[in-house]
Symmetry: C2
Subunit: 259 residues, 2 copies
């Protein structure tokens, strides 16, 4: 994202979340650190930089109320948001509303970086076979269903059987666990899909080289995402690594979720 | 179940599944062992004993097609059942139909053993507090949803956040994993619910002393089941163990799934 801003000659400023982003990750770029609960400080930093647009990037491990230690500004937000904010999506929507109320437009990462949004078709040259396509359809159905409840965005399916569903543990833990639960015969498939009412500027499911490696290590056969509903982080590297490891990565159209 | 038959003076015969039931578990009772794929042998044994009723008890780890090694009779069944039998429920319903076509009535374990079906209210004396009741409602919603897709029957929720959903890994693995994912503050709750279209004679979710112990060990605060939609295996022992470990076990009415 930083590289994209630099290439486009756009001025930018990074607001890094303490305890979430890697320390030292922003050495050499304009940035400030902020606790999640220190909303007043975050707001002050934002107002100093006075951005026109804001993009949310990366994973945030959801903190407990105690860890948040909200300042008055965060508390005010939480009181407003809390009734609906049981899941990630509710909370993220509330954050977007709050930021946009300050006159800052929230944009999706794929609006800044071309080619980030998953396209339809194969990444790399390994193709899903018929059983894999059946598993993809079943996984899409399962991932959508848990997404509807704002619980998770991923499922692992093998031979028509759902081996695992993602909740708060994240995709890597799901993949490792489901890989170990596989039975004999054709291996399983990781499916990632956005929530049916997903706020698409934020928290779209992502697939990167690390996902491809995790899937191969777990003995799964490939990864399927919904075209237009997931981010492929560095598509050239993803395709090359998928080919090297013999796994497929495929974007499937939303309409043809059936096999 | 054997004890219940003996106490009622009912003649019985155990058909034990190889690789599923514990070896030696049926010493001293009339029984025979049978591979899952050896349906013709199972049918022959059944016809010799000529039962009026049949009850399915215990967990069956779902085998791969290769492990099944179906004989001609099993293969015939599988060809008939396979189109719909992706999930457990579809498969179990097909098995019931097949058994009943032989003139044997399939009954639920709770029809033989009084007090097995979960009742409404507390088992033991520990009560869920308000946050726990909110978590129970969220867990019921989540468990029902994955049940609708015939994926699993359990969820773990803490402070409104779904920590884990059950797929093929089973409740024990779910509980251990979700326990480790807990954040600070009030601990999580295990919720087990039948599928919305559950075949209630078979595969109702179960809670026993081992479940209570697993929940306590994982640092969760309690267990909620749907009254009339789960089996409590040895309610007196479950209540005593729950009290000793300080966890709640509660049957909640289907209608009041909302807090």
């Amino acid at each position: 994202m930083i590289q994209a801003c630099r290439e486009a000659g756009r001025p930018f400023f990074v607001l890094a979340l303490e305890g979430q982003a890697d320390h030292g990750a922003f050495d050499g770029v304009p940035h400030a650190w902020c606790r999640i609960g220190a909303a007043a400080k975050g707001e002050k930093i934002l107002r100093e930089f006075d951005p026109q647009e804001m993009v949310f990037v990366g994973k945030v491990r959801r903190p407990s109320l105690k860890e948040i230690r909200p300042d008055w500004r965060a508390l005010k937000f939480m009181v407003k948001a809390t009734a609906r904010a049981l899941g990630d999506d509710g909370l993220l929507r509330a954050i977007i509303r709050e930021v946009e109320a300050e006159g800052v437009k929230v944009v999706g990462p794929h609006e800044l970086v071309k080619g980030l949004l998953a396209a339809e078709g194969l990444y790399g040259s390994v193709k899903p076979d018929r059983q894999a396509r059946i598993d993809i359809a079943r996984g899409m159905e399962a991932a959508k269903e848990i997404g509807k409840l704002d619980i998770g965005q991923a499922a692992v399916v093998q031979q028509g059987i759902v081996l695992g569903l993602e909740a708060i543990e994240g995709t890597d833990a799901l993949v490792a666990r489901a890989g170990a639960l596989q039975r004999k015969g054709p291996g399983g498939v990781l499916v990632k899909a956005p929530k049916p009412r997903q706020e698409r500027r934020i928290d779209l499911p992502g697939v990167g080289v690390d996902t491809v490696e995790a899937v191969a290590k777990a003995g799964l056969r490939g990864i399927a995402v919904e075209a237009g509903g997931a981010l492929i982080i560095d598509r050239a590297k993803v395709a090359a690594r998928a080919d090297a490891l013999g796994v497929f990565v495929v974007g499937v159209p939303r309409a043809s979720a059936k096999p």
